[in-house]
């Protein structure tokens, strides 16, 4: 099977720091790979290398079978790139932004206009198409930016934190656009620091931390790697919570977390669950909620890296500032 993107041993140094420290990744054709990691993990550096904007110091990568260094021009004609902050010309209207890209890609004036109208309609920007992009809201700019990266009908799409800084509604809208692209057979590499986003969209996930891949697999596989499931028990009478806590501690051998009126604990042996139920029944404690669920990706991430994904807002702050630079 041909791979849309394949990278082997990518290294990028900035002085002493290794932004990338030997990254391998593969995106099969038509699949979406989620690159998950905190700020500064090297996600953007990897995207910039794969999109031919940056040369790797070591390693090699191909996109659509073309080498990103030696055959950069061919790679560029296959890919679309949407960056962390919307790279649209704020002085131009939505239509002009898209027509410019179409003309640069060698389309005729008429074809460029037709394509621009098509994309604006698709991204619900038709009404705003004649206005300068600087008058757009954050979500509209982001959609225009995504539209700009689709003018040339790319086979491979790089989405570098496409929803960072967006409100929940715009985020969901963008997710449905990405799903639509997937249905069209586009291969996508999406970076994100939102676990939910990777969970929602990605076929496969690689987890970056400090320039290395520290885990990879499907969302379910990753959740299984910690080996644990989570048991949650909520008693009908809140006063029984202490009793529940004792029972759980006895059976599992670990004191549960008691926030939110629930006893929550990770279990490694599913047979412990019936034991807990029997003991509670014997004591006459009624549970309104009793569930055994997989660990969330958030818990997996914490287990893998020792810190949560959405910490270290250092570069995120910079990106947010760039967003707010006035026209």
């Amino acid at each position: 099977m041909q791979h849309a993107i394949r990278a082997e041993g990518l290294v990028k140094r900035y002085g002493e720091t290794r932004a990338l420290d030997g990254i391998d990744l593969v995106v099969p054709q038509g699949r979406l790979l989620g690159v998950l990691g905190p700020n500064g993990a090297g996600k953007t550096t990897a995207v910039r290398i794969l999109a031919t904007l940056l040369r790797p110091d070591e390693g090699r990568a191909t996109v659509g079978g073309f080498d990103v260094v030696r055959q950069a021009h061919q790679v560029r004609s296959l890919v679309g790139l949407t960056g962390q902050y919307a790279a649209v010309d704020e002085m131009l209207t939505g239509v002009e932004n898209l027509v410019m890209i179409g003309r640069l890609l060698g389309m005729s004036r008429a074809d460029s206009r037709r394509r621009a109208a098509e994309l604006l309609e698709r991204f619900a920007l038709s009404d705003a198409g004649g206005r300068a992009a600087k008058t757009y809201s954050g979500g509209m700019r982001r959609r225009l930016d995504l539209a700009a990266s689709l003018v040339g009908r790319p086979q491979v799409l790089f989405l570098d934190e496409p929803t960072t800084g967006l409100d929940p509604r715009s985020r969901t809208e963008l997710w449905s656009v990405v799903r639509g692209l997937m249905a069209d057979g586009v291969s996508v590499l999406l970076t994100t620091q939102y676990l939910e986003e990777a969970d929602q969209l990605a076929d496969d996930i690689v987890v970056f931390d400090h320039g290395r891949v520290i885990a990879s697999g499907t969302s379910d596989e990753l959740k299984a790697t910690t080996g644990a499931q989570v048991l949650e028990v909520r008693p009908l009478a809140p006063a029984d919570l202490d009793l529940v806590s004792q029972v759980v501690a006895d059976v599992i051998g670990e004191a549960p977390d008691l926030t939110g009126g629930r006893a929550t604990v990770s279990v490694h042996d599913p047979a412990a669950v019936p034991a807990v139920v029997r003991r509670l029944d014997d004591l006459g404690v009624v549970a309104t909620e009793l569930a055994l669920r997989k660990s969330s990706l958030d818990e997996v991430f914490l287990a893998l890296t020792g810190h949560r994904a959405e910490e270290e807002p250092v570069t995120g702050g910079e990106a947010a500032e760039k967003e707010e630079v006035p026209a």
Partner: protein
């Protein structure tokens, strides 16, 4: 958002490995169009381009003119060529500001991710800025004529002055490109522009005859490239010595290009 099924290109012919010269030219023109069409949506830029030189023209003619030359009419004849030079030199830095804005806003990266000639973003911008130079020249001369300025040579003198200014501005734009690539923000570019161009033009013979300067300043003014350029433009528009001043101006321009073009190209290669 309506569904559409045409996004993924079918497996077509293998993409070409390079950009042909004709395609590169078309891409350059598209990017030049992009810089010029901006004026339509940003009237302030148009005002920058038109109001500022006119304001300078009015200010210098009616406030200082009488004191400097005895009459505003005489001063206008003397100063308009100098104002043309001042405006052209200031305007070369708009190349730096535009380029720097593209870099900090991420538009430059978008353009670099497209299969287009690597030089197109640069050449497109320089062509657009040259068009804006010609527009500012026409505007200043036209407005000057309304106020009473007369071209005392010929239409060839006028065209020669325009040509000389454009050539010098193009040479200067290499320095502008370098600043645009290196500066951390458009605001910083503006500061650099102001703090270099302002003293250069005011210590030249562009706006006042240098014979009243103290000796040390006059010595500097005599070697200041702006003096030579202003003298050349003055000669071309109202008569007088042209050959030496033009030659010195062109030599300065060549020197500028020789020093700054390699530096700018190297900085550009690092970015591209």
């Amino acid at each position: 958002m309506t569904a559409m099924t045409t996004t993924a290109a079918p497996a077509g012919p293998a993409p070409a490995g390079h950009v042909g010269p004709l395609a590169a030219l078309r891409q350059t023109m598209t990017l030049a169009w992009r810089s010029l069409v901006q004026i339509k949506h940003n009237p302030w830029e148009l005002l920058d381009l038109s109001i500022q030189p006119i304001m300078f023209l009015l200010l210098f003619t009616y406030v200082f003119g009488g004191a400097i030359s005895g009459s505003t009419g005489d001063y206008l004849q003397f100063a308009l060529p100098g104002l043309l030079v001042q405006n052209a030199l200031f305007y070369t830095l708009s190349t730096a500001i535009g380029l720097n804005t593209d870099i900090t806003k991420g538009v430059f990266d978008r353009l670099r991710s497209l299969p287009i000639a690597r030089t197109a973003p640069l050449s497109g911008r320089i062509i657009a800025d040259t068009v804006k130079q010609v527009w500012a020249f026409a505007l200043l001369v036209g407005f000057g004529m309304v106020l009473g300025f007369r071209v005392e040579t010929s239409v060839f003198g006028l065209l020669g002055a325009l040509a000389l200014l454009v050539v010098v501005a193009l040479a200067m734009s290499w320095m502008s490109v370098l600043i645009g690539l290196k500066a951390s923000s458009p605001e910083k570019v503006q500061m650099i522009a102001f703090s270099t161009m302002m003293p250069l033009t005011f210590t030249s013979s562009a706006l006042v005859p240098s014979r009243t300067f103290p000796e040390w300043l006059r010595a500097w003014s005599d070697i200041n490239p702006v003096t030579h350029l202003a003298d050349a433009i003055r000669g071309l528009l109202i008569g007088g010595e042209v050959a030496t001043a033009s030659m010195v101006s062109l030599l300065w321009a060549a020197g500028f290009a020789v020093v700054f073009a390699p530096l700018a190209i190297r900085a550009f290669r690092v970015r591209v």
